[in-house]
Symmetry: D2
Subunit: 377 residues, 4 copies
Amino acid sequence: MIGGGQGAFIGAIHRIALQMDGEYELVCGAFSSNPEKSKAGGAMLGLQPERVYLSYQELFEKEQQLPENQRVQVISIVTPNHVHFEPTKMALGNGFHVVLDKPMTFSLEEALKLRTVAAESGKRFCLTHTYTGYPMVKEARQMVASGKLGKIRKVYVEYPQGWLSRFEEGGDNKQASWRTDPKQSGIAGAMGDIGTHAFNLAEYVSGLSVTKICADINTVVEGRQLDDDGAVLLKFDNSASGVLIATQVAAGEENNVKIRVYGEQGGVEWQQSDENTLQVKWLDKPAEIWRTGTGYVSSYAQHNSRTPAGHPEGYLEAFANLYRNFALCIKADMAGEETKPEWEDYPSMEEGVRGMAFIEHVIASGKSDQKWTDFSI
Amino acid sequence: MIGGGQGAFIGAIHRIALQMDGEYELVCGAFSSNPEKSKAGGAMLGLQPERVYLSYQELFEKEQQLPENQRVQVISIVTPNHVHFEPTKMALGNGFHVVLDKPMTFSLEEALKLRTVAAESGKRFCLTHTYTGYPMVKEARQMVASGKLGKIRKVYVEYPQGWLSRFEEGGDNKQASWRTDPKQSGIAGAMGDIGTHAFNLAEYVSGLSVTKICADINTVVEGRQLDDDGAVLLKFDNSASGVLIATQVAAGEENNVKIRVYGEQGGVEWQQSDENTLQVKWLDKPAEIWRTGTGYVSSYAQHNSRTPAGHPEGYLEAFANLYRNFALCIKADMAGEETKPEWEDYPSMEEGVRGMAFIEHVIASGKSDQKWTDFSI
Amino acid sequence: MIGGGQGAFIGAIHRIALQMDGEYELVCGAFSSNPEKSKAGGAMLGLQPERVYLSYQELFEKEQQLPENQRVQVISIVTPNHVHFEPTKMALGNGFHVVLDKPMTFSLEEALKLRTVAAESGKRFCLTHTYTGYPMVKEARQMVASGKLGKIRKVYVEYPQGWLSRFEEGGDNKQASWRTDPKQSGIAGAMGDIGTHAFNLAEYVSGLSVTKICADINTVVEGRQLDDDGAVLLKFDNSASGVLIATQVAAGEENNVKIRVYGEQGGVEWQQSDENTLQVKWLDKPAEIWRTGTGYVSSYAQHNSRTPAGHPEGYLEAFANLYRNFALCIKADMAGEETKPEWEDYPSMEEGVRGMAFIEHVIASGKSDQKWTDFSI
Amino acid sequence: MIGGGQGAFIGAIHRIALQMDGEYELVCGAFSSNPEKSKAGGAMLGLQPERVYLSYQELFEKEQQLPENQRVQVISIVTPNHVHFEPTKMALGNGFHVVLDKPMTFSLEEALKLRTVAAESGKRFCLTHTYTGYPMVKEARQMVASGKLGKIRKVYVEYPQGWLSRFEEGGDNKQASWRTDPKQSGIAGAMGDIGTHAFNLAEYVSGLSVTKICADINTVVEGRQLDDDGAVLLKFDNSASGVLIATQVAAGEENNVKIRVYGEQGGVEWQQSDENTLQVKWLDKPAEIWRTGTGYVSSYAQHNSRTPAGHPEGYLEAFANLYRNFALCIKADMAGEETKPEWEDYPSMEEGVRGMAFIEHVIASGKSDQKWTDFSI
């Protein structure tokens, strides 16, 4: 693991996610750019001291020297955005598989370079767009793909948060500080942090690609350097249209991600606050409540849950699903066996590139006087 | 009553709403432009045959000739949009108070003329923007007005329906036929029918005025003459921003009106499917569930409900609230007494003019290549 | 109308319910046992002074003297329980149809006598068990009756309220005072007031009859004279079992009536806080959300609603459904036409007798050391 | 781990729960009474073959011989009920801490013996009543304990399932087979499996002890050997009363555990289908929605969650909380440090004994003609 020392929210989440199913063992790490902090992080996690490194460069160098059966196999990178590209490139280049926190890089340019690196490396890459790990998000995608809803017409996705309603940065709030700092986050704040999740969810569930956008991007809280709010009109490649909302100043909202997709015959609705339910609505018959852990859901939903119906699984399990599917693919590769489509269903390089393109286009559209900005890579 | 003969949805609703509280008695009507149908409508309703008229012109003429204490006092006009202006103008001009179904007129031009007529007549005018008649919508407005949420930053309003997901017009579906016909509806379909409700709700609850819009307007169903779908980015006069969604092709949705307004300290959320609840969310403390019929709600919510907490009131009561408040004001006027602010809180001429301006601006914005269209009257 | 003067909750509800659909006109009344109050009540309602009577005895006498086409046809009786039997008996005996508020009488003995009177009179009788007037309660009954759920096994019904959590009686709270007074309410408090509703709902939806009960009856608030809380184990005539909960000391609850009925294949769930929805659950497939105003619901649900799907109807419309169905039957009788089963579906004498039997048995069971008390009439 | 081989539901759950927070490492096991299956189970989990034992007796014997720093420290026992007592007794007697699945033993007699063994051993013991591991269940308990609700008056707890609506036993359904078999489950079916959870939840949240019960116990599905349904009237030591419902034949229900506790001033409501929410209701002010991951919840709720508000945690995290708290206590003991009250808040021997007493009393009450059965141990 690179990054994720003490006080880092997402590092702890990654560790729980990878441990949960017993598919991974944490063996080494460079937990901070500060050597003392890195050591402390490793000690807290009970790692062997000699495999707690003072930098990611050292990690790759030393691990490469270990015999193959002792060497780390998968690198989790959970640093702020500006420290995504270099370690990922080095990891892939040195023969390690990579799990990387989103958004993929600091800029679209880096993302495109990384795509080339990954393709040449032959190694696997997973980008942690957590929400696509939820079984009922997968069920929504399968429902759309089945054609039962007919041709898709509307996609509404929203991610309202309230935690940046005040000026939180610059003090103890480490999360707020780096996420609102253009040097660490890149050109976007809310749009990079949560807008990319919403965008990914919209394309994942609908199976469509965005072709045009029209964005209203705002910095609501005085003194903030990056956007903390935005709304985007969307056009898709099948002529469907939609709306994406992402805001960090909806005071009182938690992480209320929600997606609705409507076709000619019906629609699906999922939201994180009722994570194990997929609402399926129909034009001429009663709406249905599809639930995880039941016998009637698709192989995708079944594969990505662990408990019987009614025993809820949540965010950590969604996260763990990404890690587990990634591991299942790697193990199959190593055993020379075929992977299953359910395992391959984790976000990867293309999603990463499109996410970075979203950031660049949405910020550009926000500044433009023209209504529509073409979305192309 | 003018319009609202057999098979007319909204005429029946108006009749229930006006009867419910015993403030009105239906005494005369011109229920259809077809004389036979008008007679049949009157007979069905048990009116005296001599007060069932064959045209609204005849209604005004004959009622004027009756002694003042027998004459009708308030005219309900529930015709399609293209028959709003003339009868309203005549009613006001002949000394009757008017309740008119929304949108106010066929065009903004007519709306502005009507405003002048109304001002000169000295008569009262109510436009039935039903949703502002709900007690918890009023509570939301009062909560914003109280300042407890701080300065308003975001307004999200949506009105998804699914009933026009297919091409329904031209056959037996009278509702679908006139609402999708530019000769009867005007230049807008969904935006006129339900977009105006959403717009009115946004301004009513937030207490703000829209100053700029950016619209994506679509006709999704093939062969349809008017828009059946749209999404609009909004800017308000205090620098808040928002999103308005109105669609008739969200297959499986009923009349799922919802509004959320967020300020610096918290937000309010109301939706018609849980009509007696106002969710109040706060930055640093638990969200609250405010309910109709309780002792802690404002005088506005209390005045506009009839039952104890837990006994739900719905759409018809919201509608009846408009009629009841209108009656209370008229009776106070007649008695030379002061009205109360709770009674005066019904939608009237200004809301009607702004609604028509919304229609014209939103259709223009939909056609424009420019992002923002100024909203001014 | 007998009873229901100023300050009476249920009288006002009855008046709205009867006016709503234009099927009734309020023409006369004896609104209070206090002559001044009766006059004041009549004046407030705009009745002709000569038809505002000082007692119900006077009402029957004088109305009988009017020509048949002017005479009142239906008597609404909305007095406290101890003034149910006499006026109902006189009304039926004098040739009037009667709508009576529940519970039917002061004692089972009176109820049995009234049944005889009613049978001899040939007049119609409606007991206002409001909750069976909701369209989705009717849908639940039809769903059970259709056999789709299989043989019924479990019935859970509950009616938690919190409004009597404190000692409210004896002061200004007229509602609390008479409902907790054995001289006006009879031998039961909560069990009579809301337990009878829950009991009626259980038998109505399940289509079954209770055969045995085991009750825990409590007076929780110190100083109260009647029960304010209870729970009852139930056995039904098809060997199903169930639980009935009724309490007035669940602090914070409103009027949260809820019923669940399960058969071999699935179950139905309805609650007043989401009144236009019937949840239908299945053993091996997704639960369904059945909604009022849709095309797929039964003729019973369709007949008992007025608005399109998504425009909620509530308690007053449920109440009005009882009145409307009663009127439709009377009108058909008068016209010598057949009534429809949907119209005849209003609570009447049998429900009233069973409700009074419930009160007597449940109080007896509460005092018994034996587990099961046979429920028989 | 003892038990929990392939196909065992609860064994897999225990393994996820203990791995999640990195506090435990699975080092040895006797996974089945069938030696081949035990070996297969160990292999699947990647254990060292020499630490996969063919019986639990062998496990204790061999592990005892290992040096203390290599020896297993905590034994998880996840066998059917009839194999709880012996291995737990041996584990405690041989100096191991024990985590045991509920219900604690096969009979109350065994439970009482085990209590003595545990007391003498000085070892820690955790019984996995999962639902008390949920942060908002802990919050409910704290809310009651704070006195804010006033004296507790009513406790309603219910656990409806539908999975045994058909005769499932005797075939491939291993879960159904042992749970309905008196040789493996003991004298109770539903009451032992889920009734004990409901009972534990009622006492945990209310902080009260049951003193009397009156039970209706049923075997609904033909041919079944044990109860699959029941309802119980409850009396508590402070004079509060309540109802407990547990059924496995509510067709269409999942694992819909729910508890409501009401005091003089308000009530709390929690249910597993909305696991991260605690509804707090008040007599005279709006209900509140308390949520995990927020700043305003108690130290108990905070300690038992891992993610920010809005990122749901579920059943596996609730389970993991039991394991984590147990580990924190053991580690503190070993370090000679004080434990915290938040850590000690896991179900243990007293809860186990009361659960077994519940089973014996509830079955006895079900057979009794007397209404009330004293609950004493």
